[in-house]
Point group: C2
Chain length 710, copies 2
Amino acid sequence: MSPTPQWVKDLKPAPPQGTELLSAERDKSKISVEQLSNFLFTKEVLERQDRVLEILQKEKVFDKSQNYFDGRVDKFKTALARAKRLRQLQVQHKWDRDDYITANDLISEPGPYGLHASMYLTTLEGQGTPEQHKKFLEPAQNYKHIGCYAQTELGHGSNVRGLETTATWNPQDKTFILHSPQLTASKWWIGSLGRTANHAVVMAQLIIDGKPYGPHPFVCQIRDMKTHEPLEGVHVGDIGPKFGYNTMDNGFLLLNKLKIPHINMLAKFSRVDPETNKYVKPSSPSLIYGTLTWVRSTIVLQSGGVLARGVTIATRYAAVRRQFQDRDAPSDANGENQVLNYTMVQFRLANADFDDIVLPLLAATFALHFTGKAMMGLYQENQKTMNANTAKTAKVSSNRGAGPEEISSGSDLLADLHATSCGLKALGSTTAAEGLEVCRRAMGGHGYSSFSGVGSWYADYLPTTTWEGDNYMLTQQVARYLLKSARGVLQGNAPNNDTTKIFTIFLQKQDMGAAHDVLGSDSDLVAAFAWRTSFLTFEALKHRDVEKNSWNSLLVDFWRLSTAHSQYLVVKNFYDALQNESLRYELDPATIDVLHKLFRLYALNTLEKEASEFYSSAAVTVRQIQLARTKSVMKLLEEIRPHALKLVDAWHFPDWQLDSSLGRKDGKVYEDMFYRASELNPLNGLTIDPYPDSDVLVKRDETAKFKSKL
Amino acid sequence: MSPTPQWVKDLKPAPPQGTELLSAERDKSKISVEQLSNFLFTKEVLERQDRVLEILQKEKVFDKSQNYFDGRVDKFKTALARAKRLRQLQVQHKWDRDDYITANDLISEPGPYGLHASMYLTTLEGQGTPEQHKKFLEPAQNYKHIGCYAQTELGHGSNVRGLETTATWNPQDKTFILHSPQLTASKWWIGSLGRTANHAVVMAQLIIDGKPYGPHPFVCQIRDMKTHEPLEGVHVGDIGPKFGYNTMDNGFLLLNKLKIPHINMLAKFSRVDPETNKYVKPSSPSLIYGTLTWVRSTIVLQSGGVLARGVTIATRYAAVRRQFQDRDAPSDANGENQVLNYTMVQFRLANADFDDIVLPLLAATFALHFTGKAMMGLYQENQKTMNANTAKTAKVSSNRGAGPEEISSGSDLLADLHATSCGLKALGSTTAAEGLEVCRRAMGGHGYSSFSGVGSWYADYLPTTTWEGDNYMLTQQVARYLLKSARGVLQGNAPNNDTTKIFTIFLQKQDMGAAHDVLGSDSDLVAAFAWRTSFLTFEALKHRDVEKNSWNSLLVDFWRLSTAHSQYLVVKNFYDALQNESLRYELDPATIDVLHKLFRLYALNTLEKEASEFYSSAAVTVRQIQLARTKSVMKLLEEIRPHALKLVDAWHFPDWQLDSSLGRKDGKVYEDMFYRASELNPLNGLTIDPYPDSDVLVKRDETAKFKSKL
């Protein structure tokens, strides 16, 4: 690679400069970004972010400049170096859990300690006895043991009962023999297992005296503590590259009659009595909803922020690109001159893309954020009330890659929260994943470049739609709960909660029909969503209970029902958040007004997208939907657009976190694209021989110069 | 990496084996795969594929086993070695164009000669004079010059008129001075430019005596023919990694007052007279639709095959996975036992995923294939008729990455074909791209593994939705054409073609309403799609001509209109293909019957997905749509499923081409996943030090062992 000549260094983008464009755009809006950020996240959280960011930016190992170029092996090595350093910083700065999570968010890549720090520690904590805590948890907390949670198998995704790995009790020497009888028994997708972990909690079918007792957790050492080589009888490795998540070493594990002592079966809930050689039943067989609900609420809350990254990037780039193209556009197009007209189309397209496609997603980021916050609040409230009555968390049966979905009885109070968290997890993560891809495409050709920062973020996020309950599967749980609630309302024995309330209202008004003034009244807009959910629930109930249709034939109905219900919840939570009196003290009226518009945009845009369900349920009229689009939504888009840039600024992503040329806060889009391509790109270290009749491929190889400095 | 122990090598997947499952599944269907393949592709094409495949498989350089592991630099090096070897084989075996394309399809990755072999040669051919052919085309055909087509710029996607690069005529020494006045003038996204090309056709604004004459093509040498270093005044390189397409060196190019002789301006259509220093106008200023129509028809035809790869993989994996899970499923679930029920849900899910999600896509592959074939046929027919009357292709103004969309007058005959090719290109490539992602997700967790073979295929295909006309933009051309046709019909001066025919029928019947027996009659089903298109066209016409709405405010309507029209065309072409009498001679009745079912599935599933447009246009009743879903589609899914495996077999993809563990023809899904992870994965050559307090990252590095052997 020849050095960049001076004449290139002297070039600037064509005027106006991105920085001027963004600053002019920001001047159009009176929103106070700082106020809104504080309201969304609290001052404490933002200060924490600043503090942690400052520490990370000083560390060479966290330099991101080669992230988009590194191949898998280098990616992993860098991620490992970062994971180690992060742990050192945690100790050094006495970071609490929130500090550590903040650091991970800023680094924005899955790391090799990911499953150790979450699932392995949690499982030991929740399912180990005090003796086991001493033996396994303590060294794990001190990173002497590095562990993972090995449940999913090659042939069995989320089906826990189908696990093939066995743990056979050997009464002679009081040990368990862990074994993989077949290839499909291989553990698979296990995060942190591939190269990093020296221990694993292995879920295996417990067998005593030839009789199976179902899956149980066993702590296995899998690699030597000094050499880090696999132990005898252990075949372990990384499962290979994936669509994303390539900084993580998801692994496989096969065991050949591996012997482990009695103490290695996690025994807080059930165990094998070594004297009698009998199985001792779980002291608390039911798993409570609590932890899973909490995990899902977190996903809902995060989904807003995940999507907001893409929306931030797309919004900033649109503000640079649109204005730029505006220069070329003639003031009038008469429709005759095709080429001129074509230019106009281009120009209009940039606006249309942005307004019609990105602004509704901007509204969705806030909608999901407020919904997630409300869910967390409800969870904490319920948790407080129920703390005395409820059994402690038995276990969190979930796993990166593919999580199981265990259901059990629980309180009516939490049952509603549980079901809604399932539906919202599915809706939130689907909205975020698909929305990111929409943002990427809305940026045109440059969205395809890694430097857009959206592609890899999307690819890394995708598994969220599968784990902690596959989104498809979760919708059936929501449907089951809604059907049960509807039956309860009909039979007059339903608990009192929001779901049964909206069903009751629906039944009362069913014979009079509904008259929702969706364009005139926000509360009617919420009520229309409630009506649609109720209608679909009682339709599904009829199909199931009266017409006796098979469950299988109703899966698509259930998916729709769950989506409808979750959209209702999002609309309702967004609405409720804006009714909160404290709003007036924290935000000025102009900001509140824009938030109201975002609420209406989210709701009306959803209503219009799902038009056929809204009018087949008679929640609204066809005319109302037509007006929603042609009048209300169009007007809202126009009114929100001037605030778009400040609204994304309020999400408060440091440039360092976004790592995006197109999403730079200062608008230096083209300079940054060019710099990364020209100065950071290792491929430009390769001078090739281009002729097909020559067998020389490379004349000069200077790619090594670009390597990350580790 | 320790060697695989014998006990691992002895393991098999849990029974039944994938091979048995697929063979049992194939036995369920009486379709003759060979017959159907021959019908779809012709015997000649299939034999060509076999012949070329045999040659490729013998060459070590085409070995694919490290494709999913290589980083960008290695990917490119391998792709370059393959491109060279492919050219050698082309010469050696005297391959014609079709042979060469077949080889590229089998290799299935974009290569560094990609733009040389297509756009560079085509542009020289089409726009050069005989003298220029001698000087530029001949050395290019012999790979002495390696070229590319440099149009798109960093700040200008598809907007040709906005190009900033200038070519200033210098009357003193009769040269052009090519110059990039600003950073945004940098050529960007140019395929084969980054590391490979030594020549480029540069599109630049021609300036004579201070006056601009618009963009014109100039041949520039950019690298030294011996050293391959950039020439003085040329800054050129690769633009960096992308979401996909990483085997291709898309490049940037900045020029600093580069002087080129008069002959380097391609002068077949317009030129600068070196004597008078005047611009000589294009001899044929209009660009004809022909070539672009042909390119788009190719994309439509390919879109069926592109999607079919994903569908083939998903279908084969589903047949292995579903049966496998079936073993665990109890024969009955009473809905009470949650865990049992959960298992059932899983099992049902696999079916539901497959039936509801993948089978309609299977139908779409055939629909797109027949549509593409019909388009190609129409194009060739028209071409024959018009050959005498029409000016030759002026130029193909398109470019990998982002193509422009130039419109001009042309014959009425071709105008219809042109517009329909725009709409179908948009629908076909969108269906294929989104369908591939649906296939990937339908495979659950394993779909996320690179070994599924779908992720990289999807990522490489994505740019097709942008180039040869961005899909969003194209829909506006379709709308413009439909509006123009509708005006013609109203004014009684429309040409006679299918579009004006369906509009005329609609206007005649408008006041009586429609009665389409979509569930009972296939021709009525087609007519219902025609009705919906016509309704939407006249609605849009009213908004535009009567209500005088702005073009901008109608963009979403136009997008919907174009989609509706294109769906009509697909349904119609599929229907027409099945009416062809020759069908009876080539296929047995059982196969024809299944094809009919696929037609109905595609049409009814589309009708149901677009329900609200169908009933707001009164093409069908709400009841018909409900029945379409609950009765017809459900029944079709059930009837087609036993044939699914043979239907994908008929697409005739060699395993070598698919390069997918999950899509193996023999069903050895798990063996192949495990083999690739355990034996081919370079990351497993890395033994690390896992402890955070140690600064040693890697204890042993044997990753080099896995490197591609070049």
